[in-house]
Symmetry: C2
């Protein structure tokens, strides 16, 4: 990943939303937040780091092994959202689902009816 | 879109992040935020409504005509993020780019180099 000089999210208004997308399938896997430190670590390590108000700085996969290897980083037009295109080493969701949006039980669907949720997988989170 | 009874984002901790994804291509188009009212309007109208601190309630496309027709709504595992899978009637970005993440000038890329940005298109926003 090469980074254009000086290009970074605008953290002056707070955290930046980070959308994590599977680089191969296009599936949206999760949404989390970044501060300056999480942003810098993500670029340095090419793995996804986030900031949460509860946990502070955290690396996805640090406890589960389900790291997110970052293939591409994009910013939106006003630089307050980040798109991480990744290859996931395991389920992105702590429930064991591949995607946090596929975790079952809370989804609305069109007339084609609910998409089957994946069962929990050991060791995720 | 059929909605499971009583399923909604958890707005008790504030706004929900809403990721807008093209239902056909999988491209992530934009990120915005929803409050209870934006959520309700989105389900009622099957078009994307958001809440911003500056603008309050707003409907994407109300001024530009570039509405987002909602095909599917999903919630994440902890119900603080929404995934809207949509068909966009025009550029999703106010810059005229199809995606806010393709608006040019602010993107980081892997070794393959920058992806060409789309030029501005009249009438978006």
């Amino acid at each position: 990943m090469s980074v254009n000089d000086g290009v970074a999210p605008d953290f002056s208004r707070g955290l930046a939303a980070a959308v994590v997308q599977d680089a191969d399938s296009g599936e949206v896997l999760m949404v989390a937040y970044m501060d300056q430190e999480a942003w810098a670590r993500t670029l340095e390590t090419r793995r996804a780091w986030f900031h949460s108000r509860k946990r502070g700085l955290w690396e996805k996969g640090a406890t589960s092994g389900n790291y997110l290897d970052v293939v591409e980083v994009r910013l939106d037009c006003d630089r307050d959202a980040v798109l991480l295109r990744v290859r996931a080493r395991g389920p992105a969701c702590h429930t064991g689902a591949r995607s946090c949006f596929d975790a079952g039980g809370a989804n609305q669907q069109d007339e084609s009816g609910p998409v089957p949720a994946e069962g929990p997988v050991a060791g995720s989170g």
